[in-house]
Amino acid sequence: MSFREPHELHRRRFGRNLGVGLVLGAFVALVFGLTVVKVTNTDFGMAPVQQEAK
């Protein structure tokens, strides 16, 4: 049994969905990267209240 050739419309939609998926994935990676850089950056410090509690 062979599968039917996908309709051109389906191929276009697949391309669009793949594109949006990759963009969203890249956005998540970007936000994660930004968080890591911001947190590990030297000028990052705990609020004075948190430091006192420690």
Binding site: H7, L9, H10, R12, R13, G15, R16, L18, G19, V20, L30, G33, L34, V37, N41
Partner: protein, 320 residues
Amino acid sequence: MSDIGYSSAQAQSAGRPVEAEASFGDYFALLKPRVMTLVVFTAFVGMVAAPVPIHPFIGFCAILFIALGGGASGALNMWWDADIDAVMKRTRGRPIPKGNVLPQEALGIGLTLSGLSVMMLGLATNWLAGAMLAFTIFFYVVIYTMWLKRTTPQNIVIGGAAGAFPPVIGWLAATGSMSVEPWLMFLLTFIWTPPHFWALALFMRSDYDDAGVPMLTVTHGRRATRIHILVYTVLMAVLAIGTAFTAVGGPIYLTVAVVLNALFLAGAFRIWRRDETMAEADNFRVERRFFRLSLIFLFAHFAAIMVEALLKPYGLGGWG
């Protein structure tokens, strides 16, 4: 009912034939990728020329969000200008006039990306940079596209400001404070834009006329446009060479500025000397050449500023 049949009905009820359903590339084209390259490059130069170093990853994100903001304003511009884009040869192939993307889709994408880019730039760098990006989008979409483009022949002069903001945003992203140098870079693009577009309007002849956009060629005539090109080119030479003696300039920049401004002035002088009969006889050869030179002109000036900045850590860039 198959899902293809269902989608056809859906798409047709939305006012778009199913064979014209958008691809991912159509949505990307809404962001005007060619304009985006200029935005990315000038914003990058603004960031590199800033005296404060920025973390490479934050710098990368900042450039990306500035580009995204520029792309968002491009999508909003295409949404508003869909009617004239359909008339002009140069813009007829854009996704909305072609029927691949609906105007309301462009509006949705433009608004979403505007909000996202401003918020992310503010969070990644500082809110002054975010506010400047928001102002740039507002300026391009509301002041230029909605208001001035169709009402004044000075549209290109004022609209040029929107394209000139990226180096200022790049500088702000790195420093978080304002100073004179990024505004010199702003002025470079601002003064460059009118002669660049007026040269285009001279050889794209009927395009703006057909669309009813009041370009200088249409409202004040082609002779006046030629004079304007020369005046702006003289102003440009003063500004570009003067910038060489500021903190962002140096000997490399000065050499580039002197050579290119001499060529630019010569081109503008030739345009000013010609009349329409001469221009038509050689199919606007001088105007086309001036337009091509203008592309190299801006790129080379910003590249020279970047080289000066990159050489500074080795004690070579700038005036020492």
